[in-house]
Each structure stands twice: as structure tokens, then as C-alpha cells.
Amino acid sequence: MAARNTARPLSPHLQIWKWGPNMLVSILHRATGTGMATVGAALLVWFLAAVAAGPESYATFRDVFTLDSGRLNVVGYVIGIGLTACLFQHMANGIRHLFMDVGAGFELKSNKRQAQATIVFAVVMTVAFWLYLGIK
């Protein structure tokens, strides 16, 4: 690809637009997807391999995320809540994308509302998931 002529102006890019929820969830979709594809996938595989390898390997895996009492430590909470929040955001916005694929929801107002709804869904579901896990 030819190098860009730096004397020529760039077309208006991210910094010139007023940020809206649709732009936020668009880049969040990519960020959460990439995050789950790297950190999430690696942890899922480590978990499965540790259970397959036996009690000692599983203990090593578990020690990284839990205190001696068996409760989650800081790493466990940050990664656990982070990954579930990523999952619910990616899931909600993915469903929104499927609707947009059939041509629905492109009007400015409804598009904005649906983008906001994915964030609300992600927050509510993450809180509900961890509350249920905590009080169970």
C-alpha cells in the first residue's frame, strides 16, 4: 500500500464527530470480542486442561483466582466480572446487529435507543449474574 502523502489533509475521523451511544457500542463490540477471544479463550482452555490433568493442576488454576477460604480474590473478581460484562455487552449488541442485518433499526432515534439498551442489558445482567452467584 502506497505511503500517505502527509501534505494532504485526512478525511474527518473519530475526533471530529460528537460521540453517541451507537459509536460507543460499535467499538465496544470489537473490544469485547477481542478481549474474550484472547483472555477469555485462554482461560477457558486453561480451565479445561487443568480439570483434565487432575486435582493438582486444577488447584494451581484455582489458586490464581481464589483466596485460601475459597472465595474469589481481586484477580478473580476483576477477570470474572470483566469477562461476564464483555460477554453480555457483545451478546446484546450481536443481537442488535442481527436486526440491523435485515435492515431494521437504522432510524436515528431507534438506533440510539437500541445502542443504549445493549449497555443497560449488559450492566443489569452482569449485576444479576454475580448477585445470584453470591447469594446462592
Binding site: G33, L48, H97
Partner: protein, 127 residues
Amino acid sequence: MRSGTAIGRVRGLGSAKSGTHHWLNQRLTAGSNFLLVVWLLISILRQPSFDYASMHLWLSNPWAAIPMVLLVASIFYHMRLGLQVVIEDYEQDQNRVALLVVMNLFVFTIAAVAIFSILKIAFGAAA
């Protein structure tokens, strides 16, 4: 290759015949991911404990091992399609090719480890 506009260079060559393959498979695996992830979240919430014995017992049951293999296949394929788009958007030339190769190695390797591990638990003797 003759010079000219981008459209002039490809005109008359015919379509690649696979233009919608990536797009469609990403949507189809999005649907299967949704069902399998809902299964996984409910399974996690229903676990009595997260110690070794509970986890091993859970995954040695075919009703958990089979959806888990499907989940790994569906999610990792979706993940490969998604990471491919991200790399194609931000990298050019040799870097793009190199990263795509590395990404494929990463995805296929961890998928193999994951599926082997599930089968080892499922087919293994009770611990």
C-alpha cells in the same frame, strides 16, 4: 498487472464466488454461540461447588461434555472470523499475512487442547 483504477483492474475477472461465506458463517455461529453460552451460564449458576470433584463430575457427564465440545467449536470458529476482520482492518502487507497465520495457529491450537481435554475428562476413568 496493468495499471488503471481499482475497478478497472478487477472488471471482467468474475466474482470470487465466496463473498458472503465469511459474513454468513459469522451470523450462523453467532446464533449457535448464543444458545451454547446461555447453556454455559445456566450450568455455571447451577454448580453446587467449583472444586475439582464437582467440575470433573460435571464435565464427565455427556450432557455437559457434548455441549462443551460444540461450544468450543462454535465459539472458536466465530472468534477466528472476528479476529480475522480486526487484523485485516488494522494491518497491511506482510504484517497482515504474518498475524493472520499466527492467529490461525493460536485458534486451532487452543481449540485442539480444549476438545482433547473435554474428551479426556469424558472418556477417562472416574477420578
